[in-house]
């Protein structure tokens, strides 16, 4: 993973890959038992990349995520029981809270302008903290990303984009739908991984 050299490690991440997987297994089991009253978007196969990256994310930073947000929330310090409770209520796609500052949205590209604004707010407040915006490969191709990336670079805002590339938007391969893939912009952290779960759910039919 191409973490820029100007970042230093600011957090001792204590969560292990096995603990992350176990959390999602617990959600999977609850979902398949019909106990989760809304869609879930489970993560797997990117534990090591995220554990490495979150060592560079300060506990006071803002983290913006999308529907595949459980790992991000846990690694940023959101209490695992609170997170599980919210997911059980059907809030898997909106696990948002303050301290730690964490916002997730399930509209493609929706978090991009929000993260830009949060970065502008932090800079205007002379805060030493920054914003980390995790997006997928399809979001990277959208116009709103281009606007926000360009603006953040031009005004030197404390905003770091991270692209998590599984080459999928729901079931649509990004490279097929766009004809080709764009180059990853400068200063964007990027890694590829292969999905283990379907876009939402667990792959099993569940009667609610």
């Amino acid at each position: 993973m191409n973490i820029p050299k100007h970042y230093t490690k600011v957090r001792d991440v204590k969560i292990t890959p096995e603990e992350l997987i176990a959390f999602e297994d617990r959600v999977r089991d609850a979902y398949e038992a019909g106990q989760v009253k809304g869609p879930v978007h489970l993560s797997k196969n990117n534990e090591k990349q995220l554990i490495e990256l979150f060592q560079y994310i300060h506990p006071g930073d803002w983290v913006f995520s999308a529907w595949r947000n459980h790992y991000h929330a846990l690694l940023h310090g959101v209490d695992s029981e609170k997170l599980f409770s919210w997911i059980s209520e059907g809030r898997s796609m909106g696990t948002n809270n303050l301290n730690p500052n964490f916002y997730a949205s399930s509209i493609v590209g929706g978090i991009v302008p929000l993260s830009l604004g949060a970065a502008m707010g932090l800079k205007r407040s002379n805060s030493p903290r920054r914003v980390w915006c995790f997006i997928g490969d399809m979001t990277m191709e959208t116009g709103v990303f281009h606007e926000a990336y360009k603006y953040s670079q031009n005004f030197n805002l404390p905003l770091q984009f991270v692209v998590e590339d599984n080459n999928l938007s729901v079931h649509t391969p990004t490279d097929v739908a766009w004809g080709k893939r764009m180059d990853v912009p400068e200063n964007v952290i990027y890694y590829q991984y292969k999905m283990s779960y379907p876009h939402h759910g667990t792959g099993k039919w569940v009667n609610f």
């Binding site: 916002y103 991009v112 302008p113 949060a118 606007e147 926000a148 603006y151």
Partner: protein, 176 residues
């Protein structure tokens, strides 16, 4: 005091608050009717933005999440509707999606284009106030018809714990 002067008075009052910031196209400089109502606000409180309406709404919401109270302006309702993804899906839903932990306060100014003494045409004079009232759950919608409604509306918006969409009529700048 007339319609435009009441708007100027409200903006000058908002500018006295340390947590406010004014933003939009032609907010840092001249360009349209709303520009003239913030001309007396100090330059360091004003942010000139590119034309990117949806991103502009997200910027205002994101800044509000970090404690600022943005006053974000759109010179025509016709242009403002390009921002509705961020308004309807995010600013209006954040309180619900955070179970009340996040409650960003944004004051949105939108102008309805004039039809008199000449009409700016079908893409520059639309008024979708009633549609906004139907689409929004948390964001309060206020339409400013009379001059005496203006200052109290902005005063209430700033002192409230929610966001406001405040709609004005540029036609009234010269007629009321």
């Amino acid at each position: 005091m007339g319609y435009k002067d009441e708007l100027v008075k409200a903006m000058e009052w908002l500018a006295t608050k340390p947590d406010t910031v004014f933003m939009g196209q032609a907010i840092g400089m001249s360009g349209h009717a709303i520009s003239n109502t913030v001309a007396t606000v100090s330059q360091d409180k004003r942010v000139e933005l590119p034309v990117f309406e949806e991103t502009q709404m997200g910027i205002a919401t994101g800044m509000a999440m970090t404690g600022w109270v943005p006053i974000t302006a759109y010179p025509r309702f016709d242009f403002f509707i390009l921002s509705l993804n961020q308004l309807v899906n995010h600013l209006d839903k954040i309180k619900d999606m955070s179970k009340g932990e996040m409650n960003p306060r944004v004051i949105i100014r939108v102008a309805v284009g004039s039809k008199l003494p000449f009409s700016a045409g079908p893409q520059h004079t639309q008024n979708h106030t009633e549609a906004m009232r139907k689409m929004l759950t948390e964001v309060e919608v206020v339409e400013l018809i009379e001059p005496e409604e203006i200052f109290p509306a902005f005063e209430r918006a700033y002192n409230s714990n929610k966001s406001f969409l405040i709609i004005e009529h540029s036609e009234f700048y010269g007629t009321k």
